[in-house]
Symmetry: C2
């Protein structure tokens, strides 16, 4: 079972600060979809905002434009193969949840689903910026709810008790990095 | 000595794709500065573009607004203490290069300096977007030159022969992650 504990919105940037790959989920008009995205990062602390780049040809883009919402789920090492599958096919070609093996959870504040077996989740509402969306495929969104698995993130810090639970960073061509050891300066 | 080899612009996103922390350097009116920034990521492949968030109160912001340029240097584990120093003080309070111990290299296409002992470098020219800059502290820039240490990045892939040469990811409060092991799916 996926364990979830609410993260204060003003601390939600900590879930993305280290640059992990994300899963973007979206829903509109009775359809939902999921895609992998490396190009997501925090934009502001309070109110918490994020940036997300979504190509104009994707089904995810269409669902986000219609609904004005998306969720970012931050996957663990143990589902990297499913993340790659979600990043390698289009939702226009069939149900990507079935094809990738990724399973969903309901979100609390938005209609888009969250993804199971992840370390953390951000529920996001788009701040309409037509010029950025059209010219740069760039979305700005406010984080309206945030969650983390308390075994992996607690008290504002990542814990990562084992390699399989670590977050991951996308390189290219099916190659990832696992989030490595932490150190203090 | 810092070893550098040019990276094709259309491959320069690979230097930032895994979400490492960056050093932002800038120069204008006879002054230069450096700051640490976790909120930098690719925006497009070709022409290569990046996103960077820079608080409006910083000296870096002033120098970028005047010059329309900045460099992103991607630091290695071995200079993490200097990165933290550059992220913990303001250039308005004195010469941050002297205070942090970070040393510079000349860039090829912009006046802002690059930072020594880094793994890779992106020279960037701002695409003016006044609304994003004013409302979100968000800069969009085109990458006009890119470089990497060929011992660490070659043929489009990170190599990281030892821990000290690995890139790093910022958590919070002086805590970083080192880029971990790579794996293929």
């Amino acid at each position: 079972m996926t364990s979830m504990e609410e993260v204060p919105l003003a601390k939600s940037y900590l879930l993305l600060n280290h640059g992990p790959v994300t899963l973007v989920s979206s829903a509109a008009n009775g359809r939902s979809n999921v895609m992998a995205a490396a190009w997501a990062m925090p934009l502001d602390f309070d109110p918490a905002k994020v940036l997300l780049v979504v190509d104009s040809q994707t089904l995810t883009r269409e669902l986000i434009e219609v609904s004005g919402e998306f969720a970012l789920s931050i996957p663990c090492r143990r589902i990297a193969d499913k993340v790659l599958a979600a990043g390698s096919m289009s939702g226009r070609d069939g149900d990507k949840f079935a094809a990738s093996g990724l399973e969903t959870l309901p979100a609390s504040r938005i209609a888009a689903p969250l993804i199971q077996d992840c370390a953390a989740w951000l529920e996001c509402q788009v701040i309409p910026e037509a010029h950025n969306q059209r010219r740069y495929d760039l979305f700005i969104a406010e984080v309206v709810a945030a969650w983390a698995d308390p075994a992996l993130f607690s008290g504002g810090r990542w814990l990562f008790p084992d390699t399989d639970s670590r977050t991951i960073h996308y390189q290219a061509g099916g190659s990832f990095f696992v989030t490595g050891d932490s150190f203090e300066c």
